[in-house]
Amino acid sequence: MVAGTVKIQTHNFNAWFDKNQVIKSLNMQVYSNEILGIIGPANSGKTTFLKSLNRLNDLDIKFKMDGEVLLDNKNIITAIDITALRKKMSIIFALPLPLPISIFENIVYGPRMHGIKTGLEEIVENSLKASYLWDEVKDRLNESALNLSGGQQQRLCIARSLAVEPEVLLFDEPCSGLDPISTAKVEDAMMELKKKYTIILVTNNVKQAARVSGRVAFFLMGELVEIDFTEKMFTNPQDKRTNDYISGRFG
């Protein structure tokens, strides 16, 4: 069906904030080296799903979850070493969130936390090249990351995620605050990155999902309505709700 092996699969995954169930009995697979786009209107559970994968929802004490989410056949819901899990699943947030330190320090932040002390220059160069930012910043690595434009900051955040050598990249509406040119650059980076990484892209922009993802999942009110190859989803969706959403009738 899809080239690549199953990287992530969920079995009856449920999630709640207090008594409000935000993900309802989710069953799906994510394959390695694919870009899976997740689309759906606000409050459909897309971001919650993404943040469940690297357990960032744990920061909210109201959050509860059950079921199974397997990463390489290991259940992450019962994972003990959460820092190791987060290192494998790196998230890129909706707004570019550089730390108020230099470009260089932003990128080596993760590696430093994992005890890497040598070869930092190389990590910085490789990460920035992979996120298509190297040429723009190579002469000012010691400048504050806050001096960069929004699009550059977001690519810096991608580089920062790459620097911890993750296996899965979680993009949470990464282009929602960017202009079309910056968006194109980030999308280019994604297309290149899927050769090495598994990518899950949550997006409010249906067209973006159509442009970059190999498969698309449509979430609605915490339920997975439909998941299929991008081409099929956009030409011949099985569910009427998918069709309505894609053609812009709601959402």
């Binding site: 690297n54 987060r86 290192k87 730390l99 993760g110 430093r112 936390m113 990351a145 911890v164």
Partner: protein, 281 residues
């Protein structure tokens, strides 16, 4: 009444209020400087009092106050900052925490004489440390703690939550996150709070009254268990207990005390500015 006139009246009124607030402070400083500057000399700053404290210098009191300020800071800074970190980053938001925070805020408003008596009963009498430098430093440290904890808590809370999320999402542990992504950005606020708090306790008389301050001790302390003279207490003594002392000596002592507190504040401001300049935020 037209709006321009209303505006003028409002401005004048606000300006007047600002003036009334500042005027007494300025007046105090001017009076002290005018009356005290003539007493200030190298001898005044570097020799011990003589002739029943009517003449001579105030060197032991300066040194004593310096020791007290330094000792209190050394004790209160780590304790207060770590307590603040616990409250801000680790404690769960429950009934107990809220009571604790309320208690700490209220501790900052407890009259200083109460701290003095607390220090007397706990350190001087119960722990048998006697009236000594260490008792005084501990008492002052306890008095400084609430402000330091509150300042630390506030400074940490003002660091955006996103910094923590970013750090955690990169696989850093909670402690690494606090240490590397939160604390550096809270440092200017913490330092400001600490310095302000310690400048304030440096000028306090009541807490050191029973715990450390010596009436007259014309030599420097040999150990932490010795008593010391201190500027605020010395000022109190010479202005109430010594008849016939020259006005310039009293004012001179007050001037030194004010200068001491002010330079502490200045020191804090310099560190803060320096840290802020490093911060590329």
């Amino acid at each position: 009444m037209n709006s321009k006139l209303t505006q003028k009246i409002a401005f004048s009124f606000l300006f007047l209020c600002a003036l009334i607030t500042i005027a007494p402070v300025l007046l105090i400083v001017v009076i002290i400087v005018v009356n005290g500057i003539s007493a200030i000399s190298w001898d005044f700053l570097t020799t011990s009092p003589t002739n029943g404290m009517r003449s001579g210098g105030i060197f032991p009191a300066i040194v004593g106050t310096f020791y007290l300020a330094a000792g209190a800071t050394v004790i209160s800074l780590p304790l207060g900052v770590m307590g603040g970190i616990y409250l801000s980053e680790y404690s769960k938001d429950n009934f107990f925490t809220r009571i604790l925070k309320l208690g700490i805020v209220n501790l900052a408003g407890v009259p200083s004489i109460v701290y003095g008596l607390f220090g007397l009963s706990l350190f001087v009498i119960y722990l048998k440390l006697g009236a000594s430098l260490v008792s005084g430093c501990l008492t002052l440290a306890i008095m400084a703690l609430p402000a330091i904890i509150t300042a630390t808590d506030a400074a940490l809370s003002s660091v955006p939550q996103s910094f923590r999320e970013v750090s955690l999402s990169l696989g850093a542990t909670k402690w690494q996150t606090i240490r590397h992504a939160v604390l550096p950005h809270a440092l200017p606020g913490i330092i400001t709070g600490t310095v302000l708090s310690n400048a304030r306790i440096t000028g306090e008389t009541a807490p050191i009254l029973f715990t450390v301050a010596a009436f007259y001790l014309p030599h420097l302390p040999g150990s932490v268990l010795d008593q010391v003279m201190a500027l605020p207490y010395h000022l109190y003594v010479i202005s109430t207990q010594i008849p016939g002392i020259s006005k310039s000596t009293t004012y001179g002592t007050a001037l030194v005390l004010i200068a001491f507190t002010l330079s502490l504040n200045l020191f804090g401001i310099i560190i803060r500015t320096h840290l802020r300049r490093q911060k590329k935020w």
